[in-house]
């Protein structure tokens, strides 16, 4: 007879679930950004998207009927036919030219000027940086007061036979654009000079020894090596078409053809019909996202990855 040997299986050690310090650390570090994302991006945007399918009924926003699901979008497309909205779209589009095609090239030039420590660079540093460190409300106030009848610029304008009334009428939009260039250069210059300052000295010294003229150095060395910063600023500039709202709000209250998409959304958001700005905002996002992503992809292709 076979002897059955009974043996107790070895006791399995119960593993105590222990939260390690690392896990707590990771949890704590992730909690805020994840919560922020869920609340401030997902929460806010979902709410905005849902608003585009609501319409006012008896003083309250309610869901649109299924047969009129795109009621707000139809209204938006109808508004595109009006001269008021067309003027707003044009005024907003101008900020692409201002940010990407005027401010950025000027900033590149002055950044190189400061980077090369050409005579007077410290003075220009202050001139350019000052607008970037002052709050926009103060900056716009200073700017508009300078061009008022008793302002700093009034006598200069008078020399050219111009009255200090540039913030009224057709000239108002030019003043807002001029302000955006003036104030925008400082921001771009800060980022571009820090990008340039990271270029290895030996590359530049090598250029110097090879006798590369400044213009060639600028276009062949500096621009390619600061391309990631330029790309970022270009993308920001494109986004300004939809983002700019404070400058026209403070300077002209959106009058005199200075209304922008951003300001319209901001103003309408203060009212009751939140479905209207939500629809405009979502439409702009849908249009802008592929354009901006394609542009970014294209710009990144020009010089490829820049590593040093």
């Amino acid at each position: 007879m076979e002897k059955v040997i009974e043996s107790n299986p070895p006791k399995r050690k119960r593993r105590r679930f222990k939260i390690k310090g690392t896990s707590i650390f990771i949890f704590v570090m992730l909690f805020y950004p994840v919560a922020h994302f869920l609340l401030m991006w997902f929460g806010v945007n979902i709410n905005s998207i849902l608003l585009t399918f609501q319409t006012p009924v008896k003083g309250k926003l309610v869901w649109v009927e299924f047969k009129e699901l795109f009621y707000n979008y139809e209204t938006l497309f109808l508004s595109f036919k009006t001269s008021t909205v067309q003027s707003m779209l044009k005024a907003s589009g101008v900020y692409f030219i201002i940010s990407c095609l005027i401010t950025l090239p000027i900033s590149l030039f002055f950044s190189y000027f400061i980077f090369k420590k050409i005579v007077g660079n410290s003075f220009f540093k202050v001139i350019f940086f000052l607008p970037s460190i002052l709050p926009l409300i103060i900056l716009t106030l200073v700017f508009s007061l300078s061009f008022s009848p008793n302002g700093l610029m009034a006598p200069i304008l008078q020399l050219f036979g111009q009255k200090a009334d540039l913030f009224i009428g057709d000239s108002a939009k030019w003043m807002v654009w001029f302000f955006c260039i003036w104030a925008g250069i400082g921001y771009d210059v800060i980022l571009l000079t820090s990008g340039m300052s990271r270029i290895p000295r030996d590359v530049l010294e090598s250029c110097k020894m090879d006798g590369v003229p400044p213009m060639k150095e600028f276009f062949k060395i500096i621009i390619p090596l600061t391309w990631p910063t330029i790309t970022t600023l270009f993308i920001f500039g494109m986004m300004s078409v939809f983002n700019v709202y404070l400058q026209p709000m403070f300077l002209t209250s959106g009058m005199y053809d200075t209304m922008t998409i951003g300001l319209k959304i901001y103003q309408d958001s203060g009212g009751s019909a939140l479905n209207t700005p939500a629809t405009l905002g979502l439409f702009c996002s849908l249009v802008a996202t592929p354009i901006i992503l394609t542009t970014r992809w294209g710009l990144n292709k020009i010089y490829g990855d820049v590593n040093y």
Binding site: P56, L78, P149, I168, M255, G270, G271, S272, A273
Partner: protein, 483 residues
Amino acid sequence: MKKKHLCIFLLSASLLTLVGCSGGDGDSGSKSQSVAVCVYDGGYGTSWIEKIAKEYEEDTGIKVEWTADDSILDRIEDQLKNGCDYDIIMSHDINWQNFASQGLLASLDDLYERNVEGRNKKFKDSLVSGALEMSKCEGEGEDEEHFYKVCYTQGAGGLIYNVDMFKEHKWTVPTTYSELVTLCEQIYQEGKASGRDEKSIVPLAWSGIDRQYYWDYLVFEWWAELAGQDKINAFRDFKDPSTGKYSTGYEVYNPSTHYKEFIQAYEMWYNLIVAHPEYSIKDAYSTNLASAKSAFVNGEVAMIPYAQWGKYELQQVTDNNSLDFNIAMMKTPKANASSNSVNYMVGFGDSMIIPENALNVDGAKDFLLYLASAKACKTFVKESQGAFLAFDYSDVDLEELQEDTYTKSIYDKLTTSTDFTLASKSPLAVWTSNSVMPWVTNEYYYASACKEPSKYTSSIVGTNIYNIAKENWVVWCRSANVK
């Protein structure tokens, strides 16, 4: 062991933090003994709420914790939805109908039925005419209208003038438009005759940069006088007066029919101001408000367009917060000598609301009821330097305050003119921001007209307003969901 202690400590600290954040019931006992009020920090100043709060505490033992905040409108929706720091909010531009429809405001029906102490009348009877209708709407899930706000102020606007200067130069306060034109010419000619220099008096100061809409206070009154109350009420409905339909409601802006008088009123302004730039301070249309106020305060001009908060704001320009001359607001010189005076209720759309989630709703209602008392009404006028709450002042003793020429002039304007308002409950006005209003799309022409007179004549402006309204109307109707 140490870890255990650390964990207990951290847990306790977290719990304490959470309790602190909740600001919850533990505090409500002391809260019920006080009322938290937020007032918009604007042209009425803060001394009125400070004084009334003090008087209220003396009379009832209940403390009023007040805050003056000019950013309340940016935060109000968040406050109403996510816990409100205040039991009462007083400001202009509160979207109260929208908030009420979302159930964010406390119903005030019971307040309107309560008796006002010392006035022998109910709260609803102590309001200025028209205020009741402007304070009702349908709340969340309701089929009939209820009270969700109390009108804040009744306003007056027009030309403020330097009383002492008028006396000194023996100028007569104009009662008609033609007298106003004559007076401006007289002031200008007197200045010219005395050898025009920096000390010469100019008829008017105004700001085209910051406050061109102050001219509305005259233009709207001329419009109402020429058009009559019925036409103004029809305009406020934003329905086609001929068909009663929203779909062609842009016809209220038709310059050859329903909007004719508005354009006439604009033309009167144009003929006075644009055709005579010499009547205004130099480049007034591109001047900021501070410069315009300084010119008036320094005695360089005789008149300035303003509203009831004018005295308070003009005093702010001086070193000692006091004017060294008397001022008054004239009744807007009438378009026709034979017609009755009208008063545009500036700021009549301003509101006092109680959030549904306020900690002390009953206390807030008690305080609003107190504001209707003769004592509080009087204190408001005195401390705000001539502004009036939207209550009936007929049985409020203001004799002592009427020694002040400015307060007296405002009182006279309010009590001897026919009031009208442009505040509208039409869905088009409620659901389209800055679009459906007398100056469509909120585009003003006063400053532009002064800069380029030929581009902004009355006929061009009239056509322009009509075309903009007509072009956008279908979009606005769809936005407001009216057919």
